[in-house]
Amino acid sequence: MKRKKILYLSMIVSIGIALHIIESFIPMPFIAPGAKLGLANIVSLITLVVFGYKYALAVAVVRCLVAALGTGAVTGLIYSLAGALFSTLIMALVHKNFSSYFSLIGVSVFGAVAHNIAQLAVASVMISNILIFTYLPLMMLVSLFTGYFVGLASIYASNHLKKIILLNGNNSMNLIM
């Protein structure tokens, strides 16, 4: 089971890296500069639901580190790492304690808002200017829509992933290989 878990997790990480790199090619210039779709958050959320919060944090860290090498944006690493870690942490807390109230969409919106706050906090330290937080309301408004989309995608993906893993629990990996 442990080997299988590692296999699944590494596949999830590779999907996350691909999404992260593809996402950096998608410009969103019309809404707010710097706004992103947050596609890679789907991966964190799925891991959180299917495997648990420890694995979700690990996946987030590995995804950010490798994707930074892939995109070449090493200064962006600090931003993406802080955002991914904090949002995964918040999503884990919400999912663990309030999952009877919030569906995955709500959890994902929580994560998106946390991601914004963490990134702006890092940015305000980096350029030593607290006024960058005036950008937060606009970013939150945009992240509501992207967060909703991420949540919806995670609901569909995690349902199927749970099924695959349950079916595959004590058998070989024939179904996916």
């Binding site: 919030f102 569906s103 939150m140």
Partner: protein, 124 residues
């Protein structure tokens, strides 16, 4: 999507819209001033002003003459000039946007310019 999801998303939406208007309100009133020094009509120096910055004196030495500009917090003045009329010195402190003080014999002009955006460029 549960009821709590809708409540949460709605409250975030309301908060961020209120926040956008609040931010607009404070950025228009902000005293984000720049001092622009021009010599002979060409930009010589551009300095950002802030309450917290220490007092500083800038010397302008050109072929036309010699001036000294003093910056203190959000206000600026010409303290010294080697011209005849000393009009620029008599102008005193400048503390609002678009106020200017000009020393015609030395072809020096200082001007306060307000800039509404704090950041030059944001790159991700």
């Amino acid at each position: 999507m549960t009821r709590w999801d809708k409540i949460f998303i709605g409250s975030i939406m309301v908060f961020s819209i209120i926040g956008i208007f609040f931010v607009k309100g404070i950025t228009v009133n902000s005293q984000n001033l720049y001092l622009v020094i021009e010599v002979d009509g060409k930009p010589y120096k551009k300095i950002s002003l802030d309450e917290a910055f220490p007092k500083q004196v800038i010397e302008i030495k050109t072929a036309h003459g010699h001036n000294k500009v003093e910056i203190e917090g959000l206000r600026v003045r010409i303290v010294e000039a080697d011209c005849q009329d000393q009009l620029c010195v008599k102008m005193g402190w400048l503390h609002k946007a678009n106020q200017t003080s000009i020393c015609l014999p030395n072809r020096v002009s200082i001007k306060l310019v307000a800039n509404t955006s704090e950041v030059d460029i944001i790159s991700y």
